[in-house]
């Protein structure tokens, strides 16, 4: 098992240069571009004195390499700068709003996996059937749908026409109180507090934005599952398993599906890239108080530190998610670390 441990260690080590690269790009975006970063950081309503003060505190009067060291030092202390619009530190703001985004994103991903993977499997096992056609339509439509547009259509149908969805304003209707904060996930917090009325209220708010995001992520997952299942089902080991007289269920799930799952999990990494971007749009449509709408609000008032802090936080989150996906790979694939890859 030492090969496996070494491979896992290797994978974690590989993330380090990527993180360094992300920090460098983020530094370039904040400090090294033409224009005066001090003016941008000081915000729209800055006076010459406050600009000078920002220049001093960020070390912008020093040479670039030294500025980079200051920047890294600040990051290591968890200091992403000061938000001009909220008056609090960006790191604090992001930490306060991150659970809302994660709750939405994770719910959407779980939802789309629960639909897309069975759909892809069914489509692959019955090529040409109506399930296959449905899968094809969903896949083509899914990649063409602008998320923000889907969200608006859903609001129109389920809120305005049918009246079964609550108004698309945030995580919880104002008649409920926020559940006591433990994890920041309203569904989990309300469940811990045993407040099922609030739990249900939070769920109702969550459903539409989550469906919007899920519709968007459905397409790549379903497409990949279908393709991976098709290639797994035509593989020699499946033929051998069938020839050996194993039952169709055993062949399908024990042999084909477990192998097909590997490329699907790889696809999830790409899906995360899309979903974190789409998240921003969905949060704007549904006034969801996550980090995406925080960044949009910051963009509107040119709150520079907040936007760049958000970009860096998202990138680090994405690197972390990719790492988790690859480590999941090591759990699912028993060959992980044994072959010389």
């Amino acid at each position: 098992m030492s090969g496996r441990g070494a491979a896992i260690f290797n994978r974690i080590a590989q993330a380090i240069p990527v993180v360094i690269g992300v920090v460098v790009i983020s530094f370039v975006l904040t400090r090294a571009l033409p224009g005066d970063p001090a003016v941008q950081f000081a915000g729209a309503a800055a006076t010459p004195e406050s600009i000078e003060q920002v220049r001093q505190s960020l070390g912008l009067d020093k040479p670039l390499p030294q500025q980079f060291m200051i920047y890294v030092g600040q990051l290591l202390r968890g200091d992403l700068g000061q938000s001009v619009s909220t008056g609090r530190s960006v790191a604090e703001d992001l930490a306060a709003r991150l659970p809302a985004s994660l709750e939405l994103t994770l719910t959407a991903l779980i939802m789309s996996c629960l639909i897309a993977i069975p759909l892809g499997v069914l489509a692959a096992t019955r090529p040409g059937s109506w399930v296959d056609q449905l899968c094809r339509i969903l896949v083509t439509a899914g990649v063409s749908l602008p998320t923000f547009f889907t969200g608006i259509v859903l609001i129109y149908v389920f809120y305005y026409l049918l009246g079964i969805a609550p108004s698309p304003l945030g995580r919880l209707d104002f008649i409920y109180l926020d559940p006591p904060r433990v994890t920041g996930f309203f569904l989990i917090d309300a469940a811990i507090a045993g407040d099922w009325e609030t739990w249900f209220g939070a769920l109702k708010q969550l459903v539409l934005p989550a469906i919007t995001l899920a519709l968007f992520t459905l397409a790549p997952i379903a497409r990949m599952t279908r393709a991976a299942m098709l290639s797994a089902l035509s593989a020699d080991y499946v033929r051998t398993a069938r020839a050996a007289g194993l039952g169709p269920q055993k062949v399908l799930y024990g042999y084909a599906f477990r192998n097909a799952l590997l490329p699907v999990i790889t696809t999830l990494g790409m899906v995360f890239s899309f979903v974190l971007g789409a998240n921003v749009l969905v949060e704007k449509v549904f006034a969801w108080p996550g980090i995406g709408s925080y960044a949009v609000e910051a963009l509107v008032v040119s709150d520079y530190a907040a936007v760049q802090g958000f970009v860096l936080a998202m990138a680090l989150l994405f690197v972390l998610l990719n790492l988790i996906i690859d480590l999941t790979y090591s759990v699912i694939d028993p060959r992980f670390g044994t072959s010389a890859k």
Binding site: P17, V18, G21, V22, V24, I25, S26, L29, T30, L33, G35, Q40, T140, A141, V143, S144, L145, P146, T147, F148, F149, I152, V153, I155, Y156, Y159, Y160, S167, P168, F272, S273, F274, L276, G277, A278, V280, L281, K284, V285, A295, V296, L299, V300, Y304, V307, Q308, F310, V311, M314, A315, F318, V319, N322
Partner: protein
């Protein structure tokens, strides 16, 4: 579309006559009517981008407060918005701006990605390693979020939307070209061309690179759809295009405020057009793939 680039790869084994290629394209179109439809829709989009502004019934910027918020009717096919502007005219006129943004962005990433990828794939060594590291780092960002950061840093303008969209697309082209060039850098025809006295740059540009064009065309088509979505998304959150300008993303954003009170047409039609454009490019990409590479049909 791009007859000039397709023949060499479309029928590699067959006789190099143009009629063979043409027959193959016709065959693909007849076999798969969806592809034919997508080409027709593409022609329609190009038509409305070129001729639209001179054909539309109303001035896309003219306000008319008497006829504000009218549902679709004979006079206003797609209705009017809160300032009484004709939505049909605005949607059609917006085609030009949306296509310009996405085509310019994709063209930029095509050129830059091709040059970087070709050099890295041909030279190999440390150039290759450095380029791969940079591309990996770009891909380590959620791409839409990176585009937001770039626009925020460079300044809020349409040109910067184009740059941002181009930058996040470069890795796809650079990697594709790098792979295609790399496998041919030691091929027989490359060595023969070098032996005949061609310079490295000439061999790379005229002998190796054209082989990468067919898969690149497919990538371009799929990418155009994504670039439009991306640009519309950026303007939806208020980046780039300024309010009175007709653009699909910003029109959906304006219409979003009225959706909860039931005025569906303001957001619906620009959104539908956006969808139609993306759909067209995606279908065309699949169709081009069939024409370019018959073995990889889906």
């Amino acid at each position: 579309m791009s007859d000039a680039t397709i023949p060499s790869a479309a029928v590699p084994a067959a006789k190099p006559s143009r009629s063979g290629t043409f027959a193959h394209i016709l065959y693909v179109l007849r076999e798969n009517p969806v592809t034919a439809i997508s080409f027709a829709m593409f022609a329609f989009l190009i038509g409305s981008a070129v001729l639209g502004p001179s054909l539309v019934p109303y001035d896309p910027l003219a306000t008319d407060s008497v006829n504000a918020l009218q549902p679709p009717s004979f006079a206003h096919w797609f209705g009017t918005d809160n300032l009484g502007r004709d939505i049909f005219s605005r949607v059609i006129v917006a085609t030009r701006l949306d296509l310009i943004i996405s085509v310019a962005a994709v063209a930029m990433s095509f050129v830059i990605g091709s040059v970087l990828g070709a050099i890295a794939g041909y030279r190999g060594g440390w150039i290759d390693i450095i380029l791969n590291r940079i591309l990996d780092t770009i891909m380590a960002f959620p791409l839409f979020v990176l585009a937001m950061g770039i626009v925020a840093a460079l300044g809020n303008s349409v040109a910067n939307i184009i740059y941002a969209t181009a930058i996040i697309n470069i890795p796809f082209y650079a990697r594709l070209v790098r792979a295609e060039v790399n496998i041919r850098s030691e091929a027989g025809f490359t060595l023969a061309a070098k032996l005949a006295g061609n310079s490295d740059a000439r061999v790379l540009a005229f002998h190796i690179f054209p082989n990468a064009l067919p898969p690149m065309m497919v990538q371009v088509s799929l990418n155009l759809g994504w670039a439009i979505l991306n640009a519309a998304g950026l303007s939806f959150i208020g980046l780039g295009v300024r309010p009175p300008t007709p653009e699909w993303g910003i029109m959906v954003a304006e219409g979003a405020n009225f959706i909860v009170s039931g005025e569906w047409w303001i957001a619906l039609f620009p959104g539908l057009w956006l969808m139609l454009a993306v759909f067209t490019f995606n279908l065309m990409g699949d169709g081009l793939r069939d024409i370019v590479d018959p073995r990889r049909r889906t």
